[in-house]
């Protein structure tokens, strides 16, 4: 059964169809990668799905509920969580505070005006578990601006985990991370709960091929491919639109 469903989503900017009848569905545990050349409409699609843009047509359903008209913030509360292409963290706060805030928000306790998060045993334990899982324990009390970018990317994943979403939208989780460190991001992604449905937007094709069970290719706002990672490099339309030399290299290998 589908957990998350996008049907015939459309968005025009000044007569230009930036998102043109895009449909997709995710079941619990799905790992879907959405790829496409620059200008394909990926960012617009993310903004439509997360509620930051209003679609001109189509519908979005989460766990059986139509959320097309639901505000962005309420979509998060219903379990649709996103990470950012460029990290959006609180520079003067520690990883511990970040994860604690996400947990408190998830549990509806973030507006409590008394008590301290680091005196709440359950919160502290869960924060410890998540940071430990992602290898960030040593940095728990450093300010985010003092930690490396790759570690900040891991913290973005930690926040997503702490919110316990039903559907997670990962917007280029390895963007800006040195090649040598992408393995850590990959390991972190492997630790995401198995029943979580993940939609990943990514440029790094190695990461896509290792992570995704299914790949969709977007070009000029339209889905031109929906299938397995193995088949995507063989598809003629995709080669023309996007992969180019990478596909050739892949088939040669």
């Amino acid at each position: 059964m589908s957990l998350f469903e996008v049907k015939n989503l459309r968005k025009n900017f000044g007569g230009l169809a930036v998102t043109n009848d895009v449909s997709l569905s995710l079941a619990p545990g799905d790992r879907l990668a959405l790829i496409g050349p620059n200008g394909a409409g990926k960012t617009t699609f993310v903004n439509l799905v997360t509620g930051h843009l209003k679609p001109d047509g189509g519908s979005i359903t989460l766990a059986g509920e139509d959320i097309t008209g639901v505000k962005a913030m309420q979509r998060v509360q219903r379990g649709l969580v996103r990470s950012f292409q460029v990290t959006r963290l609180f520079a003067d706060m520690t990883p511990q505070e970040h994860v604690a805030l996400a947990i408190l928000q998830r549990d509806g306790k973030s507006t409590r005006m008394f008590g301290r998060h680091d005196a709440m045993r359950q919160v502290v334990e869960e924060v410890g578990d998540i940071l430990n899982l992602l290898g960030l324990s040593e940095l728990a009390h450093l300010k985010v601006r003092e930690i490396a970018y790759g570690q900040q990317r891991l913290l973005e994943i930690a926040l997503a985990m702490a919110l316990r979403p039903k559907v997670l939208l990962l917007d280029e989780p390895a963007a800006g991370v040195p090649q040598a460190e992408t393995a850590r991001i990959e390991r972190a992604l492997d630790m995401l709960p198995p029943d979580l449905a993940v939609l990943m937007i990514e440029h790094d094709m190695d990461l896509v091929f290792r992570f995704a069970k299914r790949v969709m290719v977007l070009a000029a706002g339209t889905v031109i491919f929906d299938g397995s990672p193995q088949d995507v490099t063989q598809d003629v339309a995709v080669r023309e639109a996007y992969l180019g030399s990478y596909a050739n290299a892949g088939s040669a290998a």
Binding site: F84, A102, R112, G128, H141
Partner: protein
């Protein structure tokens, strides 16, 4: 597990910070009382202004809202407390203070609903518009407020039925210090609470806060109301201690000066707000007595020096320096 064990450290440090803060406020108050026994009215005015600056810190320092109209909240508290005494015969000081807090909170709600609709420069302009509107309403409603002549006829009973508000201003000063201590402790609890952490998140990156599923607007509005209550207490203290409320208590000038005091001390820290107020008002008093013609120039020069060489403010820069020293020592 490392996190679990280490987490008690910041908790203890923060509890110690609150205790040190209380001790410093009490010590400074006692020193002030004995050092300037004939100037207690000025010291009480500093305490009242400190409450206003603390209240600006809540929205500006903790939530990142730019405002040049915060005296509207202070003035609302002052007029609230003054009007119930002068027109309705409610002269019990604790009740007057409570009414001041409620009036300030209501003014905070109204201001917040208007100001928080914009961001950045338009927000700043809206805040100026709000304080001018409040000022004009108080000016026109002269039958209630006394208009440009100021609201007089404010009387107060003895505090707790025991301590008369004397001519030397001793009772008013002690009452002000007690109010400051109560507000300080409550604000320490607030800024360290999950809500305080959420507010800091709003200041640093509202988009990230929204992506966690929290309402940025709701956080800022709540903080505005709380900030209004704090400023209102300051206004009520001013009305009780001086027994008069003038239009200057909700002026743009007071708003701007209070913001300057906050920047001078350092934003985003309760200590910064208090240090900034004392430094500014003390400096202003000393310099204006020493050189009545050029004192504003000297105050301006001090501000330029602080902003250029200690952009985090007096307290903020000192705290950062000590933190670096501590870090370097490890």
């Amino acid at each position: 597990m490392t996190v679990l064990m280490n987490s008690t450290l910041p908790t203890r440090r923060r509890s110690l910070g609150t205790l040190i803060g209380i001790a410093v406020i009490i010590a400074a108050s006692v020193i002030g009382y004995f050092l300037f026994p004939n100037n207690l009215a000025l010291l009480t005015r500093i305490v009242a202004t400190m409450l206003l600056v603390l209240s600006i810190d809540l929205v500006t320092g903790y939530c990142g809202v730019a405002t040049l109209g915060h005296a509207a909240l202070f003035g609302a508290g002052a007029y609230g407390a003054g009007i119930v005494s002068a027109h309705f015969g409610i002269t019990e000081p604790l009740t007057m203070t409570l009414i001041g807090a409620v009036a300030g909170a209501l003014a905070g709600l109204v201001s917040g609903l208007v100001i928080l609709r914009a961001h950045g420069l338009p927000q700043l302009v809206l805040s100026i518009a709000v304080v001018h509107l409040f000022h004009e309403v108080a000016n026109k409603a002269s039958s209630w407020t006394g208009g440009s002549d100021g609201l007089s006829g404010i009387t107060t009973d003895a505090l707790l039925g025991l301590f008369e508000f004397d001519l030397w201003g001793r009772t008013a000063y002690v009452y002000g210090i007690v109010l400051l201590l109560i507000v300080f402790v409550l604000l320490r609890i607030l800024v360290q609470s999950p809500f305080g952490m959420l507010a800091r998140g709003v200041r640093e990156d509202p988009v990230r806060v929204a992506a966690m599923g929290a309402s940025v607007h709701s956080v800022m509005l709540r903080m505005y109301v709380i900030s209004g209550a704090v400023a209102g207490i300051g206004g009520a203290l001013n009305a009780i201690s001086t027994q008069v409320v003038g239009l200057d208590s909700l002026s743009f000038t007071l708003s701007a000066e209070a913001l300057v005091m906050l920047v001078l001390g350092g934003t985003g820290s309760l200590y910064g707000a208090m240090v900034g107020t004392v430094s500014f008002m003390w400096f202003e008093d000393v310099v204006s007595a020493a050189n009545p013609f050029h004192w504003l120039t000297i105050v301006g020069a001090l501000l330029i020096v602080v902003v250029l060489f200690a952009p985090k403010g007096l307290y903020g820069s000192a705290a950062a320096f000590l933190s670096r020293r501590r870090g370097g020592g490890k």
